[in-house]
């Protein structure tokens, strides 16, 4: 074993103490009929060899020189100090803080995380985190069903398609029906959720309306009107948001969202081909006892010192078993720590700068493509930092650019038949003027 501390003499001493002749005797209770017939795995490697093997595999990935890919996961600067914090092994090699007296570091950082998410979203309470934005949304939808005692969910088709698939899986468990609310994808359309269509599907059997804002196409949804439509029938408004945008956009708590879910990856978490990320969920205090997952609260110790503990655990599986609010056990504590360190490192001004730069570069990008006559914006509504652009012969050109190390966004036709030749292009603070220029040149060259 690569990390064994035991010498042969140690093992002999342990066997003698136990009173068995060999380690095999400790496995004698495995019935002979079910013992393995095969265990063919590669031979061990020392560090020098294993590094070479992992470097070989990492090099098989071709990290694009320039990428406009977003669609739910975003390339942002991860400040060095954030890497430093999450690299502290007092955080990374601890576990769920079951013994609070020796876990105040983790517990306080989660309390700070919950506070930061409340500040961003304008909500009263946030959980200690979820697996990702999609499972946080699914858990929020199930929570809305518990709160309203209803068993149908309405969701806009302008919500991230992969997220909608996760929601469908979670809802299939308890048999919750999902109704889709169409977005205006017609030629010259806004690309936004149709308020009238939402009102038409909402009735007193619907637990919640789920809307993403900015939506999957980057568009700013009429959240107030959609919330009114949901509230008119006693349904909840579940807002799926993007945390960087909340530096500029009105927080969900201000436009009447009942529950908020988000993917926290943009807050200092590497892309890592999709995970680990961190799901955010926030709610009003009145709903706290129906929230799934861990919560940390402040309290005091026997001598009156302030301290933090896992709290309201009567909601959770290890206490409630089959009656729990969810089966969730772990959260994504280390990713939540990265988000906490990130938000503290950039502060309100830094987050604003990131958001501002992203919106400006998205506009720069759209304008440059339009001015060069290479394509046109597909939707009319104002957008945040992602924009849907129709480019003739997009599939071929997208592939040709990828060959050159330029990823020209996310092909929308894969999930939306109406959106042929349409690419979803994302900008962040890392998008430079030169990137925009080179995209335009490369598109020209493939015309």
């Amino acid at each position: 074993m690569a990390y064994s501390p035991h010498t042969d003499a140690d093992r002999e001493r342990m066997l003698a103490a136990i009173g068995v002749a060999s380690v095999d005797d400790l496995f004698a209770d495995i019935p002979s009929s079910v013992r393995p017939t095969s265990f063919e795995l590669p031979p061990p490697m020392v560090e020098q060899q294993v590094r070479a093997e992992l470097a070989r595999l990492a090099n098989l990935n071709r990290i694009p020189e320039i990428s406009f890919l977003g669609a739910g996961a975003y390339r942002h600067l991860i400040p060095s100090v954030v890497w430093e914090v999450i690299g502290r092994s007092e955080f990374s090699t601890s576990y769920t803080p079951y013994q609070p007296e020796v876990s105040q570091g983790t517990l306080q950082s989660i309390y700070e995380f919950q506070s930061l998410i409340c500040e961003l979203t304008g909500m009263e309470v946030a959980t200690a985190s979820h697996y990702d934005g999609a499972t946080a949304t699914a858990e929020a939808a199930l929570m809305a069903c518990r709160l309203t005692h209803r068993d149908r969910i309405a969701i806009s088709s302008a919500v991230n398609p992969q997220l909608r698939r996760v929601l469908a899986t979670y809802c299939s468990g308890p048999g919750i029906q999902i109704v889709e609310v169409p977005a205006d994808l017609a030629e010259g359309g806004s690309g936004l959720t149709l308020v009238g269509a939402a009102a038409a599907v909402l009735d007193e059997g619907v637990a919640c309306l789920i809307v993403q804002h900015p939506n999957f196409f980057g568009g700013l949804e009429p959240m107030l009107e959609l919330g009114d439509a949901a509230h008119a029938v006693g349904a909840q408004l579940v807002a799926v948001v993007e945390p960087v945008s909340l530096a500029m956009l009105e927080p969900p708590g201000a436009y009447g969202a009942d529950l908020v879910a988000a993917e926290g990856q943009p807050l200092g978490i590497p892309l890592s081909y999709g995970g680990p990320y961190v799901g955010l969920m926030a709610a009003p205090m009145s709903a706290v006892r129906q929230m799934p997952g861990r919560l940390v609260g402040a309290t005091h110790d026997v001598e009156g010192r302030r301290g933090y503990v896992l709290t309201l655990q009567a909601r959770e599986q290890h206490i409630r078993r089959e009656k729990a609010a969810s089966n969730i056990c772990t959260n994504q504590a280390l990713c939540a720590l990265a988000a906490t360190a990130y938000l503290s490192a950039v502060g309100p001004r830094g987050l604003s700068e990131v958001a501002e730069l992203s919106t400006v570069q998205a506009r720069h990008l759209a304008a440059a493509i339009e001015e060069a006559g290479l394509g046109e914006r597909r939707f009319s509504a104002p957008y945040f930092s992602e924009v849907a652009v129709r480019v003739p012969d997009a599939a071929r050109r997208h592939a040709a650019l990828a060959e050159q190390g330029i990823v020209a966004g996310h092909p929308l036709w894969r999930d939306y038949a109406e959106l042929g030749d349409t690419l979803l292009l994302a900008a962040t603070e890392l998008t430079s003027d030169e990137h925009v220029e080179r995209l335009v040149d490369a598109l020209k060259a493939t015309a």
Binding site: E53, G72, Y170
Partner: protein
Amino acid sequence: MSIAEGPTAADDASGRGAAFHSSPGGEELTIVERLIFDASREGRRGVRFPQPSSRAQEAAAGQPALPASAMRSQAPRLPEVSELDLLRHFNRLAHLNYAIDLNFYPLGSCTMKYNPKVNEWAARLPGFAESHPLDPDALAQGSLAVEWLLAEQLKEISGFSAVSLQPAAGAQGELTGLLMARAYHRARGESGQRTKVLVPDSAHGTNPATATMVGYTAVTIPSNDRGGIDLEALRAALGPDVAALMITNPSTLGIFEDQIDQVITAVKAAGAIAYMDGANLNAILGRFRPGEAGFDVMHFNLHKTFSTPHGGGGPGAGPVGVSQRLEPFLPVPLPTLVEGDADEVRRDAWDGRSTPGARFALDWDRPQSIGKVRMYTGNVGMFVRAYTYIRSNGAEGLREISDDAVLAANYLRVGLADAYDLPYDRICKHEVVFSGRRQKRQHGVTTLDIAKAILDAGIHPPTIYFPLIVEEALMIEPTETESLETLDRFIGVMQRIADQATTDPDALRKAPLTTPVGRLDEASAARRPDLRWRSESRAW
């Protein structure tokens, strides 16, 4: 004393924290760290970003502006701190934490083994860390290769015919497994009648909670007096209304189900799915392959068996292995080798070579799939670490892991048998469950008191009060990476505490005295929840 009037770090002269870190600066290093919000000063800056160029701004001006009605009127009250203040804050918080990298962490059921640092090196390689989940397959061959190779290795380790890496954690692996079980019954037209999931009384709470999430009714099966599942009770409960049995093996008592062959046979004869909770796989590598033994589905915990860091409570990763009959129902997408010979690619990887012409892709075209359980393909950062770990150990290393883990647990079992009650006194696997009932009945010292006294010895306590079927349970999992000296020291500490329970029980009830804070009032935390900082609240 109310919280608001509590002493602050500055006047804390109790010497708390001494067991966990030495403070060269003495009283200047606060033991209680203020909230980051309380360190904030308006206008102070940490990380800065460039301004958009005038060219970008001019171009942007022609595009639709962000409507004023959608904008927030007040900036979020994020802390305004310098980078150094930020770093000190988190480093101080780190000092308040216990961790594997500091000392022994025998937390039963959690497999707190050493997390090798080369795994971290690998996960941070830019080739992996900067790979976007929606990058075209052609650009993501490295990530896909790791996923495919890891899945192949997990198949060989577990004896299952296919593996999905997608579930984000063990509990999500359970959800995935039961959804596949239901899809299987549905495909056979039996989903209406099969409504129950059988769960032993020693199971993790996630098992019954998962059954509920899938719309099943959890039915508890008792354990027998040897700590195994009661086979007769199981047989009596099995019928055409049962969808699945979820069983942890070795059980949460650390005991291998020595009638596991009969358990599997009975479950399958009833037409139900045999689910194995793989939380305790660290005990049986190379000794028992659940898939080969006849189980239909199992989740792995990469953060337990395969050494990915627990991170203070995540991220983990909970891949599922399945038998052939569940394969059609696996989540999408599935990383697949679409060009090249699988045996050749596997062999080449053994030798650290890339196979010319091999090509991987994501297979989305699986019509019977249960769908997606999370975004993208899973916690890929964890897959890189687990793959690194498997390659470092190789076949013989993996076998040795389980041998040494079981050896260590049995060494503790024998070493502590006089000091504490052992409700199931037989050879255990990777963990051993004692009872503190003697100490409670004879001296009024609870298992909680014992756990807190262990903290004062500078060691993290075992899992306590679980499994539920053991009174005053102390569930100890030493893992294979702890030296004999550490195990001996732990035995010494546990014996001393047992002695102290007879001579000075009051002292144990006051523990811990050396930790950064003392016992915390959990009841008032739940009664009056304070779950966030508020700008209007008093500074500490």
